[in-house]
Amino acid sequence: MTTSVSPPETVPEEKAAAHRMPFWVNQRLGLLVLVIALSILFGVLRPAFLDQRLVLFPLLRDVATLTVVALAQMVALSVGHMNLAVGRMAAFGAMFAGLGYDKLHLPMQAGLLLCLAAGAAIGAVTGWLIARTGVSSFVVTLAMDFALLGLVSLMYSALTEDAAFTTRPAGIDALRSYSLADICAGPVCGSPAVPQLAQFTVLAMLGLGFLYGGTRIGRELLLTGANPAAAELSGIPTGRRVLLAHTLSGLLAALAGFMAAAGTGTFRASIGDDFMLPSFLGAVLGGTLLTGGVVSVLGTLLGTALVGVIRKGLDLLGVGLESLNIYLGCILLLALSADRIRAVVSYRKVVRST
């Protein structure tokens, strides 16, 4: 899509951009500006947009979940792979949590751990297959998607009456509906707009940020994605990195599944049905390359938030279904074009100042 002569579409790392180009060339900043500008626009058009409890809280809860989904995809993309089974891995993980609560009466944390373990395990199997066979991740994860789709439905049909685990462990309702306002340090309480569910997102982002920003493994993941042949020849165990990426992807998908289940109420088979497109959208909007080697944790959050804000704004404006999607697509394109122009202009500016 880009050739070497056009300005680079993504900047590999915040530091990288800062070093060579001024901070305002940064793509992430562009996204942040877009998110804020659109929020202000909607806030002006509909002051209710800034209603913390009724608008921002659910918005952020949604963004929190979808960000984790997009992070799961981002991890797979970092090694140049895809995970088409994100949604189903989420369902798979959530199923184990539900099973744990329903049949084993586990406490919430134990169920969560079970869920994560299941997700990581299924991710590991996927990664192992891809690494060992060298078959395109697209094909393997697609097959995995089908297998899990069948397996999850069969398990729910066999184990439950209503195709859902309805037992809710203590504490999960708090996760769903509590916000920072319920956490007080003395007289100072947090904002009612920030859901407690977001703690998982923050944790995931911090973990991945550290992994990709600070550690050897993270760098090796990126190089594996950037050029697998060169990575192998540089002594990077590419097979193991691929395995790790898919394991992490499965784990994050399962976490997202848990969050979605906690957010809506029960653990059911349809969790994750609509995860695939948002997972790519959030990651790619955020600056993660589909071809691997470049990721952005913060960008993933911003990309997801951008879509969430546009949708929420349109909902608030009362746009009906006959126009909603048309506006959604157009606004997205316009917003990105605007950002693109900003990027090109700032690039020119840098060139001129050289």
């Binding site: 066979t133 060298g134 060169a230 697509g329």
Partner: protein, 339 residues
Amino acid sequence: MSTIRDQQSRAAAALHRFSRTTTAMLLLVVVAGAVALEVASSGSFFEGPSVRVFLQYLATPILIGLAQMVALCVGQLNLAVGALGGFTACLTGVLMADHGVPAGVAVLVGLLTATAVGLVTGVVIVTTQINGFIVTLATMTILLGAQYRLVGTRTVDGYSATLRDLGTAAPLDIPLVFVTAIVAAVLLGAFMYRTVAGRRLLAAGGNPLAARLSGISTDRQIVAAHTLSGLLVGVAAVTATASLPGVNRSVGGDWLLPSFAAPIIGGVALTGGSIAVFGTVLAAFVTRLIDAARAQFSLDPSWVNLLIGLVVLGTVAGGHLHQTRLAKSTPAPQPGGAR
């Protein structure tokens, strides 16, 4: 003196090479699957009506697979395949049913609209330099909205009986829609392998920079690929309109994944530069065989999904073992095959 031997050995080498391609494997799967179904259905699978039904529903997966393949071959993705198809089908249907446009004109308008949408998508990608993934995702969203706006929740069915008849006609039990798809595949294959324009598309996909340096405008190729992709989606939509009991907003809803699955299983790389027309067609056959098996054995869809998944995963793992054994007699794979 050595020419005949040469030719023989060359043919043998070519055969040997072919026997290890994806296409050969798919061919094997298709034949084996068909035979298995024939046995299971105690001989009715190859009977006229069965064959007709089997082929009737192959048209769409083949056409959308080809449409996606064209986008993939220049290194692009087309996420709007389903939405564009659904929109075009609804547009054609509404034009005929609600506005009394003659079938021929409506079909033409449908094809042109799909092509134009493809063209616009390509132009937007090239001019804004926004990732094609995101642009087609946006067009997908817009088209879904437009489709709903056109038909709402109703099913439009009051349209041309001639078109309907053509859609279900099957001389010699070969449905016309299937013939259409095959003709499209053949034409596309000829275009890609034989024409300068087709080779340009492939060159731009294989190495965009090299193509550019050789005077091939990659931008133009991207636009061309999306336009062609749009046209093929248009054909798919028209055949769908002709063979469906009516069109509603659900049409095209299930096209996205199959459109990727066919070419990729058929051997097309996501990175661009490769095509596999025959492979794509065969992959569509394979998926269709699964449908047929599902009906034949009264399988619960959950079991079908589970089995498909496990079989593919098993084949992948088994194929790996086979390859390691093969490797003992041939050069090793290049590093980085894990991509």
